[in-house]
Subunit: 404 residues, 2 copies
């Protein structure tokens, strides 16, 4: 059984965290550097953006995680440290300084940055803030969740408890999302921690499998970030027998991981830049998983669908349109579409053509904050879910002048 509990990145035993304002951001009220620390070295796994333009921190983190071990995460917001000539050097310096203050090895540091691309990252405020950051490490991880936010309006923390091998295990995490969110490997920054004992190999296997149905199915604006990274640390403090192969224990771990990642995906989508609504698109009856995924993503990424949802306009033709150009081999004459929310459920399209429906009920359904777009392709058994948000004036406003 997987049980949701309060907390985030410090919910699991032996993890501490902190977040402070060190001065990368001008606004002293906005935290800009986070530290996560495990009392003992942890098994580590990660997935990275597929963007060819990669933030310098990713290159350094990748090298550090080659041995499958890590003990701390240092992450700043306000600057992506990407497309800078001295980027690698700065990321390595960030690791070295963090290792020094924690008295651990630099190779056991995960380093991450998020913010504006192409502006040199001055290491000085981080260097000056590290002692305060480390001293303030505590079992309350909320400040770390706040410190990794960019245009996010809400800190994103989730945790669950589950049982493996008779031992009580916990897995939790924090995420920052908001903009430059697209389903192509991970979604911005997600740091997960667990006290479950699991080998680095199985941890990587679990993470790589899970993101295909979670972070890779989440889109805010179709732009794949240069700094996307999902990292999971497992420190074994729950003292279960280490999971080293597939089996019931691994299945339970996968379920726990998935319940955390789906929750974070929904929070990232709901808090997309300028978003007023969380959109969940469920495609069922697909001839293959690939077709289900491609179709769901195409719908959730359509600017026209997103704008219609903002306006609570049941313009289902745009959903058919997005299915049609998705590239998936769909028999569009079989497609059925419903809109659903806590205000009700309404059929708007059957056999690829419109049906008469109450515009009044449709409006009521679409005025809710969580909308389900349900598409049945009536052509098989495969299904998939994608998460996104509406396109609003505020998205344009936020991104019209992000740097200043």
């Amino acid at each position: 059984m997987i049980e949701k509990i309060n907390g985030g990145v410090t919910a699991a035993k032996g993890f501490l965290a902190n977040g402070i304002h060190c001065g990368i951001r001008k606004n002293p009220g906005k935290k800009d550097v986070a530290l996560i620390y495990s009392e003992v070295p942890a098994k580590a796994a990660a997935v990275y953006t597929t963007n060819l333009v990669k933030g310098a921190p990713l290159t350094v983190t990748k090298k550090h995680l080659e041995n499958g071990l890590a003990q701390a995460v240092i992450c700043n917001s306000g600057n992506a440290n990407t497309c800078n000539a001295d980027g690698i050097e700065v990321a390595e310096k960030m690791s070295a300084l963090t290792a020094e203050v924690l008295n651990i090895k630099a190779e056991d540091i995960v380093v991450a940055s998020t913010g504006v691309i192409g502006q040199p990252l001055d290491i000085t405020p981080i260097a000056n803030g590290l002692e305060e950051l480390a001293k303030g490490l505590s079992f309350d991880g909320h400040s770390a969740a706040e410190a990794i936010m960019t245009t996010d309006t809400k800190a994103k923390e989730v945790a669950v408890q589950f049982e493996v091998d008779g031992k009580n295990c916990t897995l939790g995490g924090i995420a920052k999302g908001s903009g430059m969110i697209h389903p192509n490997m991970a979604t911005m920054l997600v740091f997960l921690t667990t006290d479950c004992a699991i080998s680095a190999e199985m941890l990587q296997k679990a993470l790589s499998a899970d993101i295909k149905n979670t972070f890779n199915m989440t889109s805010v604006d179709g732009d794949t970030s240069t700094n996307d990274m999902v990292v999971v640390l497992a420190n074994g403090k729950a003292e279960n027998t280490e999971i080293t192969a597939e089996g019931p224990a691994f299945d339970t771990f996968m379920k726990a991981l998935n319940s955390v990642t789906v929750d974070l995906c929904r929070r990232i989508a709901a808090d997309g830049e300028g978003a007023t609504k969380l959109l969940e698109c469920k495609v069922t009856g697909a001839p293959s998983l690939e077709i289900a995924k491609v179709t769901a993503k195409s719908i959730i990424c359509s600017s026209l669908v997103k704008a219609a949802m903002f306006g609570a306009d049941a313009n289902w033709g745009r959903i058919l349109c997005a299915i049609g150009y998705s590239g998936a081999a769909v028999d569009v004459t079989k497609v059925e579409v419903h809109f659903s929310s806590k205000a009700g459920d309404i059929l708007v399209c059957e056999n690829g053509a419109g049906v008469a429906f109450s515009e009044e009920l449709a409006k009521k359904i679409l005025l809710e904050e969580e909308i389900d777009i349900l598409v049945d392709l009536h052509d098989g058994d495969a299904c998939s879910t994608a998460w996104g948000c509406d396109l609003t004036y505020d998205y344009v406003k936020i991104n019209g002048d992000y740097r200043t």
Copy 2:
């Protein structure tokens, strides 16, 4: 020599056109049906949307153009006649009624519709308006250009003169664009007419080659319409020797066609829904044409790049980001980026990293209405251009409640 002249779809000899309000739209001030007529049967070629969901008129037009001949175009706005159970029947009826009033064969009619998807198209207003529409046919095509507009704010007409075989030829056309514009075969509706004599086969060859570098490189919002269609009619009234093979005459024809289509693409992009700026992205120095095209399209389609241009924010990192996720194998460490407009030119990125630049000058350049984004990949000789527009509050407003 290709010379721009006034006029549009009736600039070439022997073409007449008209546009009126027949009642598909509620607003009597908005024309909603256009008719284009050639005094003699013309050779015809067309390209259609690649969307699997296709408007019923496309299916009917495709059948009618199988013999490479057409004599008239009937097109309504306000309703796409797509995803309707009786769509084909209605499109056939539209053709038949038009043929009757013009006293020509129904197979020589090109039928097109644009507007809302999934609402039954009532043929009655068109049937009632056809006589007035045909009676008003004239050598002034402006009303036809107006009648095919949906959310367009400007009618789009272009014409050129050129010489083939010592004869003076004319090629002109009209377009409607605005929303649901994406580089994937054609771009909404474009009707071209010429008096140049050219075989149907060579006409198709010219059109199919041209759109790859023009309409397929134009994006407003990443949504590929269900009703995209570019049709060209050539009635031979210029009395040149018919172009039946490649050679200098065909090359001249291609150039004339290209100067009209590029102009229409720029007008479509500049008048994109809610747009305040035309963006032209030129990628040079690419290792292959494919890489140049994919890169240029990825930049022009990025919501974040588009929003930054709206805000006149020289956030070049988003351009690097869009290159990185384009899928093209680009060496990002060689990339150079300039912004350019009639206010000046500024280098913002070299060797994939930022350079110091005057924010003041950058702002001045980006406050203009036509912005060039110049990207040199420094990795070969291939180049490509893509057209798009900025992402604005008004795009969201227009699409938030399109149907009502």
